[in-house]
């Protein structure tokens, strides 16, 4: 089923999506927010530019965007999958607590801010390009993987990554030698076992966007984890 949303408000779009078939193609999207917010099933394919908070609270549905997406993709997402054939704005995966986000291009500032995990719920963000500053700010759980495949000159991640990180794990496809991490995290070269643990997600990324998994994995990866049970120690006050 094809849904042209050119003149529809976000609430009308979501009503029609709910009433529609299991597999829906959205066309003519231009900035409408909250698309598929809270959806637990259906496959939604979007052409155009979806607005902020795409797939917020997503609970199992699959969203595919044939282009860029704006800010706060997958805000507080619980389960499901969001695939972006382009770049995303700021605060992608904000407070995400389950599900997977795959981005072919770059991410803006604060990707993965305050991601969290609990028992079997472990969210994943894979970014094919590079990230702005404050990647994984206050990360409390989940997995962020940045591949740095875009060919501009800048570093794979800009300033202040992992500020306030206290859980989860970050992988950068880089030796990260020019990147300053805060004192509350440890960064070291990822081992073969480390990469084995996330190979499935990289494989999925490569399948979606046409890369070769072995070539992508044939590089130095840096693994970053918080290094204590008290990550805020000395951050604000001596405690």
């Amino acid at each position: 089923m094809v849904l042209d949303v050119k003149d529809l408000q976000y609430n009308e779009i979501n009503e029609q999506l709910r009433a529609g078939s299991d597999d829906i193609q959205i066309t003519g999207c231009c900035g409408q927010r909250f698309i598929a917010a809270g959806f637990s099933d259906k496959k939604i394919d979007i052409s155009g530019i979806p607005g902020n908070a795409l797939g917020a609270y997503l609970n199992g549905a699959t969203i595919n965007v044939n282009g860029n997406a704006q800010d706060a993709v997958g805000d507080t997402m619980n389960a499901g999958k969001i695939i972006i054939h382009g770049s995303i704005g700021d605060a992608a995966g904000y407070a995400m607590r389950g599900g997977e986000i795959y981005v072919q291009g770059d991410a803006g500032y604060r990707a993965g801010i305050h991601m969290k995990e609990y028992k079997e719920k472990r969210p994943v963000i894979v970014i094919g390009g590079k990230c702005g500053s404050f990647l994984g700010e206050y990360q409390a759980g989940g997995i962020i993987i940045v591949l740095g495949l875009s060919d501009d000159e800048r570093e794979i991640v800009s300033n202040f990554p992992c500020t306030g990180m206290h859980g989860g794990v970050l992988y950068l496809r880089s030796d990260a030698k020019n990147i300053d991490f805060p004192s509350n995290v440890s960064a070291a070269e990822a081992s073969a076992e480390d990469l084995d643990a996330v190979k499935g997600y990289i494989n999925e990324f490569c399948g979606l966007f046409g890369y070769n998994t072995d070539e992508i994995l044939n590089a130095t990866f840096t693994k970053v984890v918080p290094d204590s049970k008290n990550p805020y120690k000395q951050m604000y006050v001596a405690n």
Binding site: I49, N68, Q70, G89, G132, S133
Partner: protein, 365 residues
């Protein structure tokens, strides 16, 4: 009703802008339409636009756009203006009556030239004289407000949603080489026409999305130089800071950006080019009170150019797009796609990284 100046207004907002590097003229229709997909970023309590190059027939004259509460105030203000300026044209700014825009004040414009005898007596250059006159009217003359005072440019603003404000002012009838736009989301005020963006002084204009936390420190400093912040909105002070840094102190827009969104000291420490490091340190040391903190994305308009800038932590979104000689700036990519569906390049500038676009040298403005 309390007007602004009696209540402080935090605001959310949407911004957009467009410029042709070739100086090609475009009507205000596209910039008006660009605000439509960002409708939900505003709440109907303010919208506005600035257009550059819109008054070619009067480009030697300052275009004063004014709100008046009533006819008496207008008559008194006109008497005051005549003592200081030659008024070559005065007229009501044409508007379109529409249900979405109500309670309009009297809206007039005057094309004026300062009287030489007055300039000589006061020993002021023309621009300083006009700036002081605007300050005087806005701080001392109750019920009169100058909301635009540059040459060959003009601001248009109102209480309402921006797409309605664009229609209200019939912006499709103006042609400019650059435009900026704003949709406002003040959260605890009745809203007033003068408090909508852009905020302007001379040909400088600011549209702003954000809420700066250094407002009072910035205000206290800038008021030492004769500026009067009458509205207590954070954006007003940014406009005066830019006027002070660029017109009065002679800084370039890029230097001014490095003052108001100065890099962190630790980022300056890591700067490898010694001359660049020296420049950044110099600007931070000389103008520490003009550092603006808190979230902002702004578009600064001036004769022949635009500058887009985010706060250094990038707490607000902003994207830039390019196509041929056109550059587009907006809070959301969707707004850019309305103006140009097939942009060649689209990117998000880093926090504190100014994007400056000037009309090519040699183009007559």
């Amino acid at each position: 009703m309390k007007t602004e100046g009696q209540i402080r207004i935090p605001s959310g907002c949407a911004i957009a802008a467009v410029i042709s590097k070739e100086g090609k003229k475009m009507s205000g229709e596209a910039i008006t339409n660009s605000m439509r997909p960002m409708h939900d970023r505003s709440n109907g309590l303010g919208g506005g636009f600035a257009g550059y190059g819109i008054y070619p027939d009067y480009k030697e004259f300052y275009a004063l756009h004014m709100f008046f509460d009533d006819r008496t105030t207008r008559k008194e203000t006109e008497t005051f203006l005549k003592e200081r300026f030659e008024i070559v044209k005065s007229e009501i700014i044409p508007t379109r009556k529409m249900p979405a825009i109500t309670n309009e004040p009297l809206i007039w414009r005057y094309f004026v030239a300062p009287l030489k005898s007055v300039l000589d007596r006061m020993q002021l250059d023309e621009r300083e004289f006009v700036a002081r006159t605007v300050m005087k009217i806005n701080s001392e003359m109750k019920g009169a407000f100058v909301f635009s005072s540059g040459k060959n440019m003009g601001a248009f603003k109102a209480v309402g949603f921006p797409e309605d404000v664009g229609e209200f002012y019939r912006l499709e009838e103006y042609e400019g080489y650059s435009w900026t736009a704003h949709g406002r989301y003040p959260t605890n005020t009745p809203g007033w026409w003068g408090g909508a963006h852009p905020f302007t002084l001379l040909d400088y204009s600011i549209v702003h999305n954000g809420e700066i936390s250094s407002y009072d420190a910035n205000r206290r400093y800038i008021e030492m130089f004769g500026y009067k912040c009458t509205l207590q909105t954070d954006t007003e002070v940014i406009t005066y800071i830019m006027d002070y840094l660029i017109r009065v102190q002679g800084l370039s827009p890029r230097d001014a950006a490095n003052v108001i969104a100065a890099p962190f000291w630790e980022t300056i420490d890591k700067t490898s080019d010694p001359a660049e490091k020296e420049r950044l340190m110099y600007l931070r040391k000389v103008f520490p009170s003009l550092l603006i903190t808190g979230p902002f994305s702004i578009v600064f308009g001036y004769k022949g150019g635009l500058m887009a800038l985010n706060d250094r932590l990038k707490l607000r979104s902003m994207v830039v797009g390019e196509k041929d000689d056109m550059t587009y700036i907006a809070s959301e990519e969707a707004a850019i796609r309305v103006m140009e569906p097939n942009v060649d390049k689209i990117w998000a500038p880093a926090g504190g990284e100014p994007v400056i676009i000037n009309v090519k040298d040699g183009v007559s403005l």
